[in-house]
């Protein structure tokens, strides 16, 4: 059994204005090594799909897709209850990709889960495809919400989570936000209402890759202290390293144990994670790789 020190969020546990005087606490991890290895392998596969999709389409958002990969892989292949052969199963956990531009990551996870053939991934962004540039709940099996205009997914998640409570359902709702998306006023409207309504079956995950389209988040529109802001809005804040599966899974567990408050996981990530020349590169927010870059990226990701 291991303890993950990064989960002991000292900053938050001492704050008197914390709605929960529990601190982030210590989460005991019990995931076997083989599970973690499986997740890491899947993440590699998903990253290769992402590069292939964006290269094939000639457009898309590699940076934010790669940074979000590990969290989505943990959700789809470990954390969430869902059935690929029954996408509308009433009791499934819901996932809303509020940062809709990371659609390739979502599609790769859905395809690998079995919602549609992996081969279909190459149709992304092409005319007549079920895989639109941004997620479309009416076209793609497994997609829970149509997103793409930043700032709206958390509100949608609130509706889903409240519906679960009304229906006395056990399913949980996960929403992934971009960090730049925290610029949007609607995020804070949603944050306020989620704690007002005590929506503890809702988990927001912020893909904190520290870059937005125009540059570093702290330069364009400063977010820090981001955790304190969410805490002040009444959320249980859990901060982790967003490429470490043990921390990601521990954070989901911690969120599940939190009653009476919504939880937000600030996942510290690297934009472009896994491809050396895309890591931390603003230029790859919304640009497809060239042929050389594509080949190099695939090699780095362990592709043929």
């Amino acid at each position: 059994m291991k303890i993950f020190p990064s989960l002991i969020s000292k900053e938050y546990e001492v704050r008197v204005y914390s709605p929960l005087h529990i601190g982030a606490g210590i989460v005991v991890n019990s995931y076997p090594d083989e599970d973690i290895k499986m997740l890491e392998e899947m993440a590699g596969k998903v990253r290769r799909h992402i590069i292939e999709m964006i290269y094939g389409a000639g457009s898309g958002h590699p940076g934010g897709s790669l940074s979000a990969t590990d969290v989505l892989v943990a959700l789809y292949f470990m954390e969430m209850n869902h059935k690929a052969d029954d996408p509308k199963w009433e009791d499934r956990d819901r996932f809303v990709l509020s940062k809709g531009h990371a659609a390739p990551t979502l599609y790769a996870c859905l395809a690998e889960s079995g919602y549609f053939p992996v081969d279909e991934l190459k149709t992304i962004r092409k005319i007549g495809s079920r895989l639109q540039g941004h997620p479309d709940m009416r076209k793609t099996p497994g997609v829970e919400a149509s997103t793409g205009s930043e700032g709206q997914g958390l509100s949608m998640g609130i509706g889903m989570a409240l519906a679960a409570k009304l229906d006395r359902k056990k399913y949980r709702t996960y929403v992934m936000l971009g960090d730049g998306e925290n610029n949007c006023g609607q995020i804070w409207e949603a944050a306020m209402s989620a704690s007002q309504f005590k929506i503890d079956n809702l988990v927001a995950i912020i893909d904190r890759n520290k870059l937005q389209l125009d540059g570093p988040t702290e330069k364009i529109m400063s977010l820090e202290p981001l955790g304190d802001k969410w805490k002040a809005f009444g959320w249980n804040v859990i901060e982790i390293e967003g490429h470490n599966f043990r921390e990601i899974l521990a954070a989901f567990k911690k969120a599940k144990e939190t009653k009476g408050h919504p939880s937000v996981i600030i996942a510290n990530t690297i934009k472009g994670k896994g491809v050396s020349f895309m890591e931390g590169a603003v230029g790859f927010h919304g640009k497809s790789p060239s042929k050389d870059e594509y080949e190099k990226a695939m090699k780095e990701l362990g592709g043929d």
Binding site: R94, V96, D136, M137, R138, E144, A145, S146, T147, G148, S149, G151, Q152, G153, S155, M156, G157, I158, G159, M160, A161, L162, A163, A164, L166, D167, G185, Q186, E189, A190, M192, S193, Q196, F197
Partner: protein
């Protein structure tokens, strides 16, 4: 002419919501700090667990209703027209209309009859904003009883609906057999006539009926149509009326640039072109004043409809 009883559309909306709440457990209602004014508060009294007050945060309210609908609920979102259309256009477009979700947006306090609050609160372009959205159905009930019928029909209907209501007590003019079976997309003929057609929507329907009485004195026999669904528009009824009467006047408490009248004009131009005139606000913002003063100043009275009808008749050489 008989004196009409005055009733409030918002009360009818509240009544309809309570009835729906009793009939269906999947109905949820969202407010934005105006639950008392828009009468969602009545629903909240009966079903507190199914009413959510999002505060002054309309964007969150609309997208949350999309979430409700995605999870199988039929969600009603209601606040003033000014706040629930322009302010949240993108949320309606992206979260509701594009995924074709079961969200019913009920806007109250529409138009200039809001009165004293002035132009900042007088929504005169909502029909334009809502009718250009694919998947959106747009309804403007003529009075309180029709409001109730429209709300019940919207709840039954699958997909996004926008319903436009006013603030004031207005004449009950739809208590006639022709208007009892409310059907989305179906206009009702309130009065038969052979010389000209007056097409009204919302509070202008009663005024069209009055105008028809007035025109009778001048030996002009006017047909009156209640165009309660702006989209999809009942083209069949319109074209038939145009053929039968040969002239048309539309009347709406909305900017004439892009409201019901322009939708009627487009239909006629492509199908059966007749001389026509649109009564409405001539592309200007409103101001503070009483409802009656504003209706007079901005060209929305019975006399304005009558004058427009005479103008159309003159163009036809009569």
């Amino acid at each position: 002419m008989k004196k009409w009883e005055l009733k409030n559309q918002r009360d009818a909306f509240g009544e309809a919501l309570v009835e729906l709440g009793e009939q269906r457990s999947d109905i949820v209602v969202a407010s934005a700090d105006l639950s008392c004014s828009v009468k969602t508060g009545v629903f909240a009294e009966h079903f507190p667990e199914r009413h959510f007050n999002f505060g002054i945060a309309e964007q969150n309210m609309i997208s949350a209703c999309a979430g409700f609908a995605a999870a199988g609920k039929t969600a009603f979102a209601s606040t003033f027209a000014i706040f629930v259309t322009g302010r949240v256009y993108d949320q309606i477009r992206q979260s509701v209309a594009y995924p074709k979700l079961d969200v019913k947006i009920v806007a109250t306090h529409a138009g200039i009859t809001v009165g004293g609050d002035g132009a900042t609160h007088q929504m005169i372009e909502d029909l334009a904003l809502m009718r250009v959205l694919p998947n959106m159905t747009v309804i403007v009930p003529a009075d309180a009883p029709e409001t109730k019928r429209a709300v019940m029909a919207a709840a039954e209907f699958k997909g996004p609906v926008y319903i436009r209501l006013g603030r004031a007590n207005i004449p009950v003019c739809t208590d006639i057999p022709e208007c009892q079976d409310f059907e989305i997309g179906k206009a009702s003929i309130m009065r038969e006539g052979a010389d000209i057609t007056l097409v009204g929507t919302g509070i202008m329907v009663a005024k069209c009926l009055e105008a028809a009485e007035d025109l009778k004195k001048h030996k002009i026999d006017a047909k009156v149509i209640n165009m309660s669904t702006i989209k999809p528009m009942d083209e069949k009824t319109l074209i038939k009326a145009a053929r039968e009467t040969g002239g048309m006047v539309t009347a709406e408490e909305h900017n004439v640039m892009v409201g019901m009248g322009s939708a009627v004009a487009m239909t006629l131009v492509e199908n059966f072109h007749v001389p026509m005139k649109r009564v409405g606000i001539r592309d200007s913002f409103g101001e503070s004043g009483t409802s009656d003063e504003l209706m007079e100043k901005y060209g929305l009275t019975v006399d304005h409809i009558v004058d427009a009808a005479h103008d159309v008749m003159k163009r036809r050489g009569r």
